[in-house]
Amino acid sequence: MNAYSRVAEPAAPFELPPQGLGVSALAEPPAPAKTQPHRRLGIGAADPLGWLLGPAILLLGWTIGSFTGWLDSRILPAPWATIAAANELIADGRLQANLAVSAWRATQGLALGSSIGLTLAIASGLTLAGGYLIDGAVQMKRAVPILALIPLLIIWFGIGETMKVSVIALAVFTPIYLNTHAALRGIETRYVELAETLGLSRKAFLTEVVLPGALPGFLLGLRFAVASSWLALVVVEQMNATSGIGYMINLARVYAETDVIVVGLLVYAILGLASDTAVRALERRALSWRRTLAR
């Protein structure tokens, strides 16, 4: 710093404004403008494993809290107790069996809801009559929280699998419909004009221009839909279920098995993360033509 000040000193009398400089400003010699890089406004490149930092700190805090006894094991069991509980659940097959049931429900609901959402979005997005018939009705349905529909669905379908899958499908359907519909209606006029001047048939216009153009919207909807499907799953499995991760958690609550509850929650977290990663991978593959900011 000293050497630096000496070099800058001779220039100082010329650069200083005639008055009004505070003492601190005098102590810091004005830096030569040439060598100073531009202030960087972007956040720079992220480390691919950087996101692990937050979870790692949480895990560390959890471990320390449990080890020192600051965390009561009735409130939150120690990490090693949770691992032991998970091992036990796997050993007697309960975890696998319940996980399979839950995953199957979510898959059925997702498939059913996506198909309905996609079909209705295409019908309503690509024809005026379809739009008049469908869009208003879907917007109304969207305004009703999915949980409020459960009593009605129980009366219609009972408390069995049909009701559970229907609730998940209804939760999935809305984001798929909304995003696909918006993308279909958002196809740019210039592409429509292009298709007209190229003399494209109606079928070619749909398959070459409209549907690929709306694919980003559909995939975005799918990501929301996957998240919704797990949410709906948790709700239906805590009502009148006799199997599934949610049932396992609920049962553990009755016996105050906090460790089993934590294992169930972790399974939900892993399922959610894994399915979102899968959809994002699908998105990257299907939309490789895009050159976006976040590659």
Partner: protein, 245 residues
């Protein structure tokens, strides 16, 4: 250049268009002969794009009157290249072509616009000039009788534009479609066209054949004279005009 035959392939009679976004037409008559290169020159909002869109049958919403005869087999090059970003370059070129040899012809057209080897690129990987060349290939592969170009080089930089002029001239010589080029660039119009039609406030204000001597100082002088005349037609004062390139 192949001599334009006398047979008109475009005939516009008393065309009136009102309340379109870009301009109005107020009784336009225009004929384009087979193989003829016509530049449509005019200031912004004079209706030149409106006329082109009417001939291209893209003005569904417009109201007006008049008759247009134009070939079915026409092709449009827009100011933006208008490539589908989700299709590779070759698939953009042959979009909508069902014939068996479409891929082969598409490859040939790409080679003609000096983009051989870029068939499998995505449009986003190309520069603006390259994208516009793909758009040209997409038009040419259809062997149109009429090529409509709506300020196709307006978004390109000056150097790329000169290269595109040379390329377009060569392609038009090879395929001999009739061309209607909408532009506001006087030099571009003189450089490329057989005939220049000046549009002013929705009417044809001048219809000037371009007959320049082949080369040398005589050509330069004729070029400059025509340029002065056209600029005066467009209402640019001599003191405002920069010297001819």
């Amino acid at each position: 250049m192949s001599a334009p035959s006398s047979l008109p392939i475009v005939r516009v009679r008393d065309l009136v268009r009102r309340f379109t976004i870009k301009g109005v037409l107020d009784g336009v008559d225009l004929e384009i002969r087979r193989g003829e290169f016509v530049a449509l020159l005019g200031r912004s909002g004079c209706g030149k794009s409106t006329l082109l869109r009417a001939i291209a049958r893209l003005d569904h919403e417009a109201t007006g009157s008049g008759d247009i005869v134009a070939p079915q087999n026409l092709s449009v090059v827009f100011q933006d290249a208008r490539l589908l970003p989700w299709k590779r370059v070759l698939d953009n070129v042959i979009l909508g072509l069902a014939d068996r040899d479409a891929r082969e012809r598409g490859q040939k057209a790409l080679a003609e616009v000096e983009l051989g080897g870029r068939e499998q690129s995505w449009p986003a990987e190309l520069s603006g000039g390259e994208q516009q060349r793909v758009a040209l290939a997409r038009s040419l592969v259809r062997e149109p009788e009429l090529l409509l170009a709506d300020e196709p080089f307006g978004a390109l930089d000056a150097l790329t534009r000169i290269r595109m002029h040379v390329l377009l001239k060569r392609l038009v010589q090879a395929h001999s479609p009739a061309v209607l080029l909408v532009t506001h660039d006087v030099d571009e119009a003189i450089e490329l066209a057989d005939r220049i039609v000046v549009l002013e406030q929705g009417k044809v204000a001048a219809d000037i054949p371009v007959a320049l001597p082949a080369a040398g100082t005589e050509r330069a002088e004729a070029f400059a004279a025509l340029r002065r005349e056209l600029l005066a037609r467009l209402g640019v004062q001599p003191t405002e005009a920069r010297p001819a390139a």
